[in-house]
């Protein structure tokens, strides 16, 4: 038995204690960067603590130090700089992982899901990164551990644990477009890991207007408040942790339709409560019991300015409750098993899904088992499988196998194959909607039968194309994925990481007509239809040259991506698909003319440079990202991006942040920061509304 394997296994098993033993950042600020570089600990890949290098699935970590040096305040800014990720704007800022729309990436805080998506996007700008110790990103499906939504990847925000003694901090940041961010943090802890942290944050913006010719701003003005509490206490063999978060936002905008002006206001309230009890039953068994509750409520009003008449009104109220028990069994130094089971209840209120006060209420039970096997120092393997049974869609079994192989100390090879799934969206399950003006109707899968029956009883159905009672339950959208890659470390000055991925996706949900109404319009339902694949390579090279007393880190990342709809490939293979130039010339299209799914750049690159010069307390962060052109519309009727005016041209973005840290006492320091985002003022006013041009900011932060 090598002592290394034993040490690793002990770390795995008692890993959560590593928090308490980790050196305080404030005590050893000079070494923090190197330590984070050398041995970051991650939990998202296996739901247990491991060093980053030793996880078998592609995982990226962004440390608090990196986020602070960058001057980031919201999650979107953090993820934008990660190689291979692209921001994706659709009803909020989302993230594209391995070519998937934001719907397919699960966002967690301390391992529990953040809820509340609009059109599939969980707005990353909702999430303040104050009080976050690190952000972990796992690429590829992790549904075998996390269930729905963990199809493209998992983003897990890990909050800072309480530190010993009393600490606190206050930060202010102000920038272009009237953007301000104010944070106050305080915490106290005793020996043995008990303590608490509390965080208050206010984030606001005056919005901006890229199209002054039209009435109303491009993005609304808003004020957003977040408060977060993390506490833990240890007695005997048990540790109780409590996490709580409450956030609300008010936003204001306006728009005009045919010269009539409307006010557009929205408010949002979301909260979560996360108590967790961890008990060491005996030296080989650990039981973790988790309760998690979350709520997400929005209210949207669009009122005509002249008389306050309601043009559009929408309320949405989502509540999620979960209970889960997880047993970790440490059989010996070579075998570790994790077994978990739980159940969740979810209710949906608001006027879109809760018709006549009839709120959809869903039940969900799940269980998973993961076994990790360490046969020797060169090999680690983990296999996991999860079962999800839900009241409104077909059950899913999600397996995954991951292998890490170390042929030499410097080389790590990673291979993982697994299945991911995404539950049908709420509208796909519960919508019951009839358009009063156009006369068509749409029903979610669980509402289709009663909806058709009601329309039939009212004599509105002219022709039924199929009997809804004969339909099978709608299935979750599902994928099979393969990730193969590795890393090569040449001394601690150079590291190359690469990963090739292939995601084969089935059962994507789309609407299809199920009946024709007497008014000639159709009744639509949701069905598992489309298939697509995404494949590509993501890579990053990190170089840390020795530069005297300065610490320098340079990184370059590149991603190649193909994201393609299989129905389009089938159509292209028939030779019947043509394009038409703006001048009217028509030409047959081949696969090479297919620009892929809209919004996906085939090539993207990132550059990152960080310089710290401790003697003067100076820090510098430079970040660049570039994406090649991507399709966004179809103009010649073939539904694919093939001609130049159907693409958003390629663009680069560069950001820079400089920080000066002034020590005021043994544990007190002041940091002054200034930065520029999108330094070269790139804008695409009609194509990319989320790109407001150059933005400047300055901030100050005091920690004690």
């Amino acid at each position: 038995m090598s002592s290394r394997v034993l040490a690793l296994a002990i770390l795995l098993f008692w890993g959560l204690d590593a928090h308490a033993q980790a050196p305080r950042k404030e005590v050893a600020p000079r070494d923090s960067m190197r330590e984070l570089v050398m041995a970051p600990i991650v939990v998202s890949a296996t739901r247990s603590e491991k060093t980053l290098q030793d996880v078998a699935v592609p995982t990226t970590v962004v440390s608090a130090e990196t986020m602070r040096r960058q001057g980031a305040v919201r999650l979107g800014e953090v993820l934008a700089s990660v190689p291979g990720l692209a921001l994706f704007d659709d009803h909020g800022t989302g993230i594209q992982v391995q070519g998937f729309a934001p719907d397919y990436t699960l966002i967690l805080i301390d391992g529990e899901p953040v809820i509340g998506r609009t059109a599939g996007t969980l707005d990353l700008d909702r999430i303040s990164i104050q009080g976050i110790e690190r952000v972990e990103l796992v690429r590829g499906p992790s549904s075998s551990l996390y269930g729905s939504e963990a199809l493209a990847g998992v983003v897990n925000l890990i909050t800072s644990p309480p530190a010993e003694g009393v600490e606190g901090g206050i930060g202010l940041r102000a920038g272009s477009h009237g953007t301000t961010d104010m944070t106050a943090e305080a915490g106290a802890g005793g020996p043995g890991g008990s303590g608490f942290r509390v965080m208050l944050n206010r984030y606001s913006s005056a919005g901006y207007d890229l199209t002054p010719a039209t009435y109303g701003p491009t993005t609304p003005s808003f004020a957003d408040y977040t408060t977060d509490l993390r506490a833990r206490t240890t007695w005997g063999r048990s540790t109780l942790r409590l996490g709580g978060r409450l956030a609300f936002q008010d936003q204001e905008s306006a728009f005009a339709l045919q010269d009539t002006r409307y006010d557009d206001t929205g408010s949002r309230l979301d909260w979560s409560l996360h108590p967790e009890l961890e008990t060491r039953l005996n030296p080989r068994l650990r039981l973790t019991t988790t309760l998690y509750g979350a709520g997400y409520r929005t209210k949207t009003r669009q009122l005509r300015q002249s008389d306050d008449a309601i043009y559009y009104s929408d309320d949405f109220d989502q509540r999620y409750q979960k209970a889960e028990a997880q047993l970790d069994a440490f059989w010996n130094t070579r075998h570790l098993t994790m077994i978990s089971a739980g159940g969740a209840l979810e209710t949906l209120g608001g006027n879109r899904y809760a018709l006549d006060g009839d709120q959809p209420e869903t039940r969900h039970v799940f269980g998973f088992v993961q076994h990790e096997w360490l046969p020797g120092r060169r090999l680690e393997a983990s296999a996991s499988v999860r079962f999800d049974a839900h009241s409104d869609y077909a059950s899913r079994l999600s397996p995954k196998l991951a292998i890490l192989f170390r042929p030499t100390e410097a080389v790590r090879l990673r291979m993982s194959a697994g299945s991911g799934f995404k539950a049908p969206a709420f509208r796909q399950l519960y919508l019951a909607f009839s358009n009063a003006a156009a006369g068509y109707s749409v029903f979610g899968a669980s509402r289709l039968e009663e909806g058709i029956a009601r329309l039939e009883a009212e004599g509105q159905i002219a022709q039924l194309f199929l009997d809804p009672s004969t339909l099978d339950a709608i299935r979750a959208e599902r994928s099979m994925a393969l990730n193969m890659g590795g890393s090569i470390t040449l001394s601690d000055a150079f590291e190359l990481t690469f990963n090739g991925f292939y995601n084969d996706v089935h059962d994507l949900i789309e609407t299809q007509p199920v009946a024709q109404k007497t008014n000639g319009q159709f009744v639509y339902g949701y069905f598992n239809i489309s298939r697509l694949y995404t494949r590509g390579i993501e890579s990053e090279a990190v170089f840390r040259p020795h530069a005297g007393r300065a610490r320098v880190e340079l990184a370059a990342g590149y991603q190649f991506l193909q994201a393609r709809d299989r129905a389009v490939l089938d159509r292209l293979s028939t030779g019947d698909v043509f394009g038409r130039d703006p001048d009217g010339r028509e030409y047959a299209l081949a696969v090479r003319d297919y620009g892929g799914l809209f919004g996906r750049s085939p090539h993207s690159a990132t550059l990152r440079a960080a310089v710290d010069y401790a003697p003067l307390g100076l820090g510098l962060s430079l970040r660049g990202r570039w994406r090649s052109r991507y399709g966004y519309r179809d103009l010649d009727g073939n539904q694919i991006a093939n001609r130049d005016d159907e693409f958003v041209p390629a663009y680069p973005l560069f950001d820079a942040t400089a920080t000066k840290t002034i020590p005021l006492g043994p544990r007190t320091r002041l940091a002054i920061q200034a930065g520029v985002e999108n330094a070269f003022d790139i804008t695409r006013p009609t194509l990319v509304p989320s790109l407001p041009g150059r933005r400047l900011f300055a901030g100050i932060r005091a920690d004690f």
Binding site: F465, L466, F578, P582, R585, E586, A588, D634, G637
Partner: protein, 238 residues
Amino acid sequence: MRFPYTVRLVLLISLFVAACDSSDPDPDPVPITAVTATDIPADPTLIPPSGGPPVSTGRFTLYSLREERIVLASSEVDATVRQQDSVSTAWDIGLRGTTLIFNGGTSGPGEGAAQILAQPFADVLEATEAGYFADGDNTACPALETPAGPVPGTPYAVCSGSDNGWYNYNAPINLISPLAGRTIVLKTADGLYAKLRILNYYQGNPNPPDPALPGRYFTFEYLVQPDGSRTFETTTAE
């Protein structure tokens, strides 16, 4: 070789005479070029004076490809005029919204019929010999795809519905765009062969097509072979 002057004169005269002889069975063919009709209204919608959603009238615009003119506009309300024109063979193609009709079958008294080819307009050098449907006869029209299979649509010569005929409807941005590489080959009311492609559905022939502009205004390019043959390259007709 050089002919004597008189021989050359005789040759020239005989050539001239031959060219003037209308009964000559093999006159010189001349190239034919396509013409474009722009902004042909096809029952555009109007917001009623009392307000509310825009409405259409349900009337066709009837167009003569041979004479390159509107025979009967959808704005014409006089029932007598509409009745006379619609039963005549003066028109070849009718347009209403996204629906196209041809003067034959259930649509009119003429010999009109059509089919859609998956070929670029410029590459269709000859009308297909067979495969034409008159309106009412085309039983192969899928109006729409349902989970239970395709449901037959109205048996028009050019099927209605997105991707079934000449257009694609992009619901999220409410855009009707003509399918590239689709050419309608047709017979006019008097049985002449013609080819036609739709270029735009929006007023002013905007490039690129713009759903913010009024729709139901057709711009289309077409070519009629006046000599009764199937070729679209040259004609022997005057």
